[in-house]
C-alpha cells in the first residue's frame, strides 16, 4: 500500500505546486502544502516533481491468510425460472481464473423453487452450486439476500466473487462487500489472476477516458461486478459438479421492504439510452426503403434514427434526430447507412464506442470518424446482410 509524501522544500512557488494536481488535491496548509481528500493516487505529482512528491509505502496492518480463501464464486441471477445470461458468462470467466490457480468454481443460487436451475448451471462446468431455496427468498429483497450471501461466504470462503453488473447485482454486491469490509471493483472489463490468487481487475474510469488496473491485495473475498456481454459463456457439457442445499434461520430473512407490485419493464424509447442504433441518411431514396433499415434494427435489437433531411421529410419523429440540433447519443454500436457525416450530425454521435459507416462515396466525411468504413451501396449490402442474419437465425 502506498501514499504520497511531501518532502521538505523551500523557495518554491506554492501556487505552481497546487496547480500540479488535476484534482485540486494539493492544498495550502500554513506555509507548506498538504494532500487532501481529493487525492486519487493518479501519481501525476510524482512524475512532475519527484523532488518534492514521493511515494511512501506502508505495511498493511493485518494481512489475510490467502490460503484460507479458495475458489471463485459466481452469483447466479435469475428471473421467472430463467438464468440471466451474464451469470453463464461469469461462470466461463471464473473457470478460466480458477484453472490458472488450481481452484474450484462455485455458484450461489438464491430463490424459491430454484432447484431446476441447479441442474442447468452445473452444465456450465461448475464444481459446486450452493442453493438457498426458501419462500422468503422468492423476490429480491436486500436484507435477506445479503444475509444469505453472508452465510454462503462464511460457509465456503471463496477467494473471489463475481456478480453480474445488473441493477440487482450492483445493489447486492456492494452491500455484501461492505459487510465483509472488503473491496469491490465495479464494471470490470478485463479479469485475470495472479499465482497468489490476487485478481487483476481492469475497468474504465472517468467516463471511459482512462483504464484503471485494480487489485484487492490484503482482503478476502475479492469482489467484482461485470456487465452483460463482456465475457463468453462456456459450452454446455456433461455436468460433473454437485449441488448443496443450504439452510438458513428464517429470523435472518426479515425485511423492512414490502413489494407491492411487479410489472414488466417497458422498452427504452429514447435514443440517448439506446445501446445500439441504426441511422438512415439521405442515401435512402424513398420512405418505403426504410423497411430494410427497420429490419436491420430489429435484428440487432437496435433503435432507428435519422439525419435531419429525413426528419424534415417527415420520415422520422423529430426525437429521433441525432446531431447538433438533435440528440447526442453514445451507444455501444451505431451503424450509419447513407449518411455523409456532416459536422452537425457527427457532433451528436462521435462518442459512440463503435461506428460502422456504410456509404458509397469513398471520401465521405463519415469515414473520418468511423471505426469500420464500409465502402459500398446500402441497397446491396443491407439486404445481403439481412439474408445472412435470417439464415444464421434459422440454422441455430
Amino acid at each position: 500500500m502506498s501514499s504520497i509524501k511531501i518532502l521538505p522544500f523551500s523557495g518554491q512557488n506554492i501556487d505552481e505546486l497546487l496547480a500540479l494536481c488535476p484534482f485540486n488535491a494539493i492544498e495550502k496548509c500554513g506555509d507548506g502544502i498538504d494532500i487532501n481528500a481529493g487525492c486519487r493516487m493518479c501519481r501525476i505529482c510524482l512524475k512532475r516533481r519527484p523532488d518534492i512528491f514521493v511515494l511512501a509505502e506502508h505495511q498493511p496492518k493485518a494481512t489475510v491468510n490467502k490460503s484460507d480463501w479458495r475458489g471463485i464464486a459466481v452469483y447466479v441471477e435469475h428471473f421467472n425460472s430463467a438464468i440471466h445470461p451474464v451469470s453463464f458468462e461469469l461462470v466461463g470467466k471464473a473457470r478460466e481464473l480458477a484453472d490458472k490457480t488450481g481452484q474450484p468454481v462455485f455458484c450461489l443460487l438464491i430463490g424459491e423453487q430454484v432447484k431446476s436451475l441447479t441442474a442447468e448451471i452445473l452444465e456450465y462446468g461448475v464444481d459446486k452450486v450452493y442453493v438457498y431455496d426458501r419462500p422468503e427468498l422468492k423476490h429480491f429483497k436486500i436484507e435477506p439476500y445479503t444475509a444469505v450471501f453472508e452465510d454462503f461466504i462464511n460457509r465456503v470462503r471463496p477467494s473471489g466473487i463475481l456478480v453480474g453488473g445488473t441493477s440487482l447485482g450492483r445493489s447486492l454486491a456492494p452491500r455484501v462487500a461492505a459487510r465483509f469490509r472488503t473491496g469491490l471493483t465495479a464494471d470490470c472489463t478485463i479479469l485475470d489472476i495472479n499465482e497468489n490468487t490476487d485478481i487483476d481487475q481492469i475497468r474504465p474510469a472517468y467516463g471511459g477516458n482512462i483504464m484503471a488496473h485494480i487489485q484487492t491485495p490484503n482482503h478476502r473475498p475479492q469482489f467484482a461486478t461485470v456487465r452483460y456481454k463482456i465475457f463468453n459463456a462456456p459450452a454446455r457439457r456433461q455436468p460433473t459438479g454437485t449441488a448443496e442445499f443450504c439452510d438458513i434461520a428464517p429470523e435472518r430473512l426479515k425485511s423492512a421492504i414490502e413489494i407491492l407490485e411487479i410489472r414488466p419493464k417497458e422498452k427504452v424509447r429514447s435514443i440517448e439510452d439506446a445501446e445500439t442504433i441504426v441511422v438512415a441518411g439521405k442515401g435512402i431514396k424513398k420512405e418505403a426503403d426504410l423497411q430494410m433499415i427497420y429490419e436491420l434494427a430489429d435484428a440487432l435489437d437496435a433503435m432507428t434514427a435519422g439525419t435531419r433531411p429525413l426528419i424534415e421529410q417527415g420520415w422520422f419523429d423529430p426525437r429521433l434526430q441525432i446531431g447538433l440540433s438533435g440528440r447526442t447519443v453514445k451507444p455501444k454500436l451505431i451503424i450509419t447507412c447513407g449518411v455523409s457525416g456532416s459536422v452537425q450530425f457527427a457532433a451528436g454521435m462521435q462518442g459512440a464506442e463503435n461506428i460502422i459507416a456504410i456509404n458509397n462515396d469513398p471520401i465521405a466525411a463519415i469515414f473520418n470518424i468511423a471505426h469500420s468504413a464500409v465502402i459500398g451501396d446500402i441497397y446491396q449490402i443491407v439486404p445481403a446482410l439481412l439474408g445472412k442474419i435470417r439464415r444464421g437465425a434459422s440454422s441455430q
Partner: protein, 262 residues
C-alpha cells in the same frame, strides 16, 4: 423529517484525458461541478421537503473546494451542508468513502432518509449508496426511478430491476439511490443564492467522527488499490472495407456476431 443527500464534487469528465507518453492524467484546467447524477438526488430531497416539511442536509466528503458544491446545493433548496474533509480521507475507495460518510451521518444523528445519486461520473461505481446503508445497518433500495408516495413512516418507490419494475414500500430509516429521470432537477435560484450567501457549511474532520481510527479511512482504509492507469486500447483504430457487396455483407455479419449484437 430529516433527509440527508450525499453529493460529490467531480471533475468535468469530458476534459479528463491521459497523456500517452507519461501515462498520467493530463491537466486541462479541469472544472469541477456537482456530480450531475446528484442533482436528481437533491431534487428528490427538495420535493420531499416541499411535501413533508422536512429539512434537507447535503453531505459531502472531499477537499475544501467541495464547499462550492454544497453552496450550489443551497441554491437548489438544501437547508444545511456538511463537508467531511481531512487529509486522512485522501485516496479513499468505495469502502473507505462509504465508511467516512456513514460515520459523518452517525455523528450528526440518524436521519429518516438518505438519498444518493445513481453513480458519480468519476468513480462511476454506483456502490457508495448501498455501502453507506450497510454501515448504518438500514435497508436500501437502489435504482429508484420514481417516487410513488411518501408519508411520515415510509416511502413507496419504483425500483428499476433488470427485467421488471418493482413497486416497493420501505419504512424509515432507509437509503435510496435515484436514477436520472426520477424528477427534472430545477435550476439554481438567484434568490436562494443571495439568501444563503452567509449560510455556514459545517466541517467535520476525522477527530469529529465516532470512529476516529485513521487506518479505517482514506487510502489506508481502502481494500482496493489502483496499480496503474492507462489509456484505453485504441478503439479509434480505423479500418476500411472496400469490396463486393457480398464480401462486405459477410464481413459485417461476422463482425456483428463477434461483437454479440446478433
Amino acid at each position: 423529517m430529516k433527509i440527508y443527500v450525499c453529493i460529490k464534487q467531480v471533475p468535468d469528465t469530458t476534459k479528463v484525458d491521459i497523456d500517452p507518453e507519461t501515462m498520467t492524467l493530463k491537466r486541462g484546467g479541469i472544472d469541477s461541478k456537482i456530480n450531475p447524477f446528484d442533482l436528481y438526488a437533491i431534487e428528490t430531497a427538495v420535493k420531499l421537503k416541499e411535501a413533508h416539511a422536512a429539512t434537507v442536509c447535503a453531505i459531502s466528503m472531499g477537499p475544501q473546494q467541495s464547499e462550492a458544491a454544497i453552496r450550489e446545493s443551497y441554491m437548489l433548496g438544501v437547508d444545511e451542508g456538511v463537508l467531511l474533509s481531512d487529509r486522512n480521507f485522501a485516496g479513499a475507495d468505495v469502502l473507505a468513502t462509504s465508511y467516512a460518510l456513514s460515520q459523518g451521518i452517525l455523528s450528526l444523528g440518524m436521519p429518516d432518509m438518505i438519498i444518493c445519486g445513481q453513480q458519480t461520473t468519476d468513480g462511476d461505481t454506483a456502490q457508495v449508496g448501498p455501502e453507506i446503508a450497510e454501515f448504518l445497518d438500514i435497508p436500501h433500495v437502489a435504482w429508484v426511478r420514481r417516487i410513488v408516495d411518501s408519508d411520515e413512516t415510509g416511502i413507496t418507490v419504483e425500483m428499476d430491476m433488470p427485467e421488471t419494475v418493482e413497486v416497493v414500500r420501505i419504512s424509515y430509516p432507509c437509503l435510496i439511490t435515484v436514477e436520472k429521470g426520477v424528477f427534472q432537477p430545477r435550476l439554481p435560484s438567484f434568490k436562494l443564492k443571495m439568501a444563503t450567501r452567509e449560510r455556514p457549511i459545517r466541517r467535520l474532520t476525522l477527530a469529529d467522527l465516532p470512529d476516529s481510527e485513521p487506518l479505517r479511512y482514506g487510502l489506508k482504509g481502502s481494500p482496493t488499490q489502483v496499480i496503474r492507469v492507462f489509456p484505453p486500447q485504441n478503439s479509434s483504430q480505423r479500418e476500411t472495407w472496400n469490396d463486393s457487396p457480398e464480401v462486405l455483407s459477410e464481413k459485417l455479419y461476422s463482425r456483428l456476431n463477434e461483437l454479440k449484437f446478433l
